[in-house]
C-alpha cells in the first residue's frame, strides 16, 4: 500500500503556489503548497469546465480556478457551495523537506 513516490523538494513549490506532476496513468496532477506549508494533490481539472486548477490562486485550503472562479477545497477536491462538483484528490505528504505522492 505504502507506495509513496518522491516528487520534488517542498521548496520547489512556491508558497501559495503549485506545480504540475505529469502522470501517464492519471493525467495531470496539481500539487499545492499553502501558507502553513501543508501540501495537497488533486487532479488538475476543475469539475466545472476542466480548467487547470494548478494555475489558480491559492488561499487558505482552497484554490480558485482560473477559468470561471469556482473555488475548490484542496483536501477533498469538492467545489465550495453553492457550486457543486468534485475533482479527484490524491494522498500526499512531506518528510524531511521532500514531497511524496501516492497514486
Amino acid at each position: 500500500m505504502s507506495d509513496w513516490k518522491k516528487i520534488c523538494a517542498l521548496t520547489d513549490i512556491p508558497v501559495l503556489g503549485s506545480r504540475v506532476v505529469k502522470s501517464e496513468k492519471h493525467g495531470d496532477i496539481a500539487i499545492f503548497r499553502n501558507s502553513s506549508d501543508e501540501v495537497f494533490a488533486v487532479h488538475d481539472k476543475c469539475p466545472h469546465k476542466g480548467g487547470p486548477l494548478s494555475q489558480g490562486i491559492v488561499h487558505g485550503k482552497q484554490v480558485t480556478c482560473p477559468l470561471h472562479s469556482w473555488k475548490i477545497e484542496l483536501d477533498s477536491g469538492n467545489a465550495v457551495a453553492p457550486d457543486v462538483g468534485c475533482t479527484k484528490s490524491f494522498a500526499v505528504k512531506t518528510e524531511g523537506g521532500e514531497v511524496f505522492l501516492t497514486i
Partner: protein, 816 residues
Amino acid sequence: MRKLKLVMVGNGMAGVRTIEEILKIAPDMYDITVFGAEPHPNYNRILLSPVLAGEMTIQDIILNDLDWYKDNGINLQTGKKIVTIDRKKRKVIADDGTEAEYDRLLLATGSNPFILPIPGKDLPGVISYRDIADTDAMITTAATHKHAVVIGAGLLGLEAANGLAIRGMDVTIVHIGDWIMERQLDKMAGLMLQQALETKGMKFRLPAQTAELIAGESGRVAAVKFKDGETIPADLVVMAAGIRPNTELAEKAGLHCNRGIVVSDTLQTFDPRIYAVGECANHRGIAYGLVAPLFEQAKVCANHLAMFGIGRYQGSVTSTKLKVTGIDVFSAGDFSGGDGTEDIVLSDPGMGVYKRVVIKSDKIVGAVMYGDTVDGSWYFQMLKDAQDIHEIRDHLLFGKSNLGDAGHKGQNSAASLPDTAEVCGCNGVCKGVIVKSIKEKGLFTLEDVRKHTKASSSCGSCTGLVEQILASTIGGAYTPADSNSKAVCGCTDHSHGEVRAAIRDLHLLSIPAVMTAMDWKTPNGCASCRPALNYYLTSSWPHEAIDDPQSRFINERAHANIQKDGTYSVVPRMWGGLTTPNELRAIADAAEKYKVPTVKVTGGQRIDLLGVKKDDLPKMWDDLAKAGMVSGHAYGKSLRTVKTCVGAEHCRFGTQLSMEMGVKLEKMLFGMYSPHKVKLAVSGCPRNCAEAGIKDVGVIGVDSGYEIYVAGNGGIKTEVAEFFCKVKTDDEVMEYSGAFLQIYREEAYYLERTVHYVQRVGLDYVKAKVVEDAANRKALYERLLFTLQGYKDPWLERSASVGVAELKKPFEDLTV
C-alpha cells in the same frame, strides 16, 4: 466559562438575522432562547404576497427550518407569547407561564396592523394582512366567497388585492388618499399604476372613507358603508391601512417608547441590557417597515451583542418596489418636491412609461418610475452615494444603459419579461431561473444571486436587469450596497478606498502587512482581494513594496493569456501597430515550430498565436526575443496597445505623425500595470481611423496640435471618450496622457476602468488635477516615469536560453 444567556422575543426576520450575525462572529458566546408567538419557524414575510397569489407555498418561504435552530443549539419556543419582562430579576415570562432568564434581551416584536376604529371592525371576515394565518384566511375565503374589500392602497393593500383577484374574488380597493400609494408614488405614477391594476380587474374607490362594516344574517361581515352613505357588498374585508410598532411589552416593562422602542445607534434601548431591532424599534425618529434597513440594524446589533463594539447604525434611505407580477414600479427617497428642488421628467403615458428624478443642489434626492424601472437601482445608488450628477444631467433620464449595452437585447422592464427571457447572455441564465433561486434559496443581495445563478457574474452588463428582478421579487427588501463603502470581498469589511488609504498612510509594503494592519478575516485572503492588494501596494510604493506573483492572476504570472483548454496565447508587441518583414518571419517560424493551431490578427493591431502549451512558452519567447520582439502584455491589467492610423507619414489627409506619436507613447508606457487594462489610440486627423473615441486615452491630431480624449471604452458597454484638453507638442501629449494615467493608477479601485473612475470622481475633478494644475501634472508624470524605470521584459527574464532559473520553474512540469 459560563455562557451568557441571550433571550430573543419575536421570531421574525430582523431578529433571526441578528442571531445569524452573532453566530457568525461569536458562535460560542451565548446560550440562545427564542420566543415566537406564531407556531412557525422564521419565514420570509415579504413573500406572503406570492403565496397569496398562488405562486409559492408556505414551505417555500421558510427561511430557517426547525433543524437550523436545533443545529445551532437554539432553544426555540413557538406559540408562546411573552407577556412580562421582569427587568430586576432579568427574566421574561410567557402567557403559559414559561420563564427564561437573560443576561441580554433582544426585542424583535415587529409591528401590528392598524385597525380602523369603526363599528364592525371585530366582525368575522374582517382581517389584517400580516402573517401566515391571515394569508391562510384569505386563501380559504377566496374559495368560498365572492366580494372582497381591501382598505388601504399602500404596498401591502395592493398586493393583497392582487392576490385575491387572482384567486377569483371581485376586489374593491378603498383608499383615503387622492391617489394610490401616495407615500411611495407621485400622482402621475399612482394614476398609471391604478389604470394597470384596473385592467387586471380590480376596482378602486378614492378618495373614500369607510364609516362602518355591516354584518349580514350569518353574523359575518356583509357590506362596507362609506361616509357618504353608499354601501358595497363585502364577504371579506382586509385592513391594510398601515402598521404600528408593537411596543406593548416594552412599554409595560417601563422602557422608553415613542412610536417604537427608542434605540441608540447601537440598537440599545434605555435599559443597557436590552436591545431592539426591526419594525418595533424607533431609531432617530423612524420605525422602518422594510427589510433592508432591518438587516443593516441586525448586523450592527449583533456586532455589539458579540462585544466587538465597533458597528454604528446611522439610518437608511429606502426604496420601494411593488410585487405585482407584470407591473414595474419603483420609488426611492424624497420626491415631494419643495424649495430648491428640480424635477426632470420623462412622461409617455401611451407607452406606459413615466420617470421622474428629483434633484437638489446637483444631487438626486428622490426618484419615481413606472413602466421602465431598470435604472431604479442606478438612481438609488447615486442617491445613497450623494453623487454629483451635473455632468450627466442631460442624459440622466435615458438611464445607465442608454448606449451600447449588449447581451440582453436592451430589455429594460424586469417584471414584464417572460420567465424564458435570457437575462445574462454570458452564462445563459433566463429570468425564471433567477426568480426561482431568489425564492427557493432566500436570496437578498446581488452577490447572492451571482453566486447561485451566475447571472451578471461575468461581464456585468445585465446587472441593472438582475437587480430589478431581485427588487421585483423581494420588493423593498432589496438595497444596493453603497458603492463607496462596499467591502473589497468577504475577507474584510474595509472598502477599496479605505485599503488604499491605509497602504499609503501607514506605508505598508506587503500583503501580510496589510492583512495584519486591517484585521483581515481570512489567513491569506482570496482570489478577489489578493490581486487588488498586490496592485495597491506596488502602485503606491513602486520599487519598494514586494510584488507577489502568487497574488497575480495566472495571466500576469505566466505572461501569456490562458485559454479555455488550459493552453496559452502569445502576442508579441508591435509598437504602434508597426511591424517588419523580419518580425513577421520570426512569428511565422515560431508558429510552425511550436505547431500553433490558430494565428489571428487582434483588434489592437498585432498578431495572436493561440493554443501554445505552457512548457513551450519559454522556448517560444527565446525565439521571438532573438528577433527583437518583447511581451505584448495582451493579458494583464496593464497597458495593452496604442493603436494608430497611418497619419501624416503616408496619408493624404494626415495632419500629424500618428504612427510616430503612437510608438513614443507605447514605449513610454511599456510595462505599466494599472487597476484594469488600458488602451490608447492615436489618429492623425479628425477622421479618426484609429478609433480614438473609445479608448482610455485617445489622441487626435489636428493641424495645430493634438486633442486628447479620455475615459472611453469599446467593450462591454460602449462609452464615448470625453474631451480632456488640447495641446501643441508631442511632449505635451506624453505629459498629459501620462499624468492622466498616473492619477487613474493612484486613485482608481482595482478592476475599475478609466470610464468608471472618471464617472465616480467626475471629469471636472480630474481636469482640475491634471489640466489646470501644472505643478501637480508634472509631479504625476514624474511619478509615472519613476514607476516605469528599469522595467524588464518579462519574456526575456523567463526565456529558455537567457532566463532566470527561478522564474522558469513554474513552466517546468514534474513527473512520477
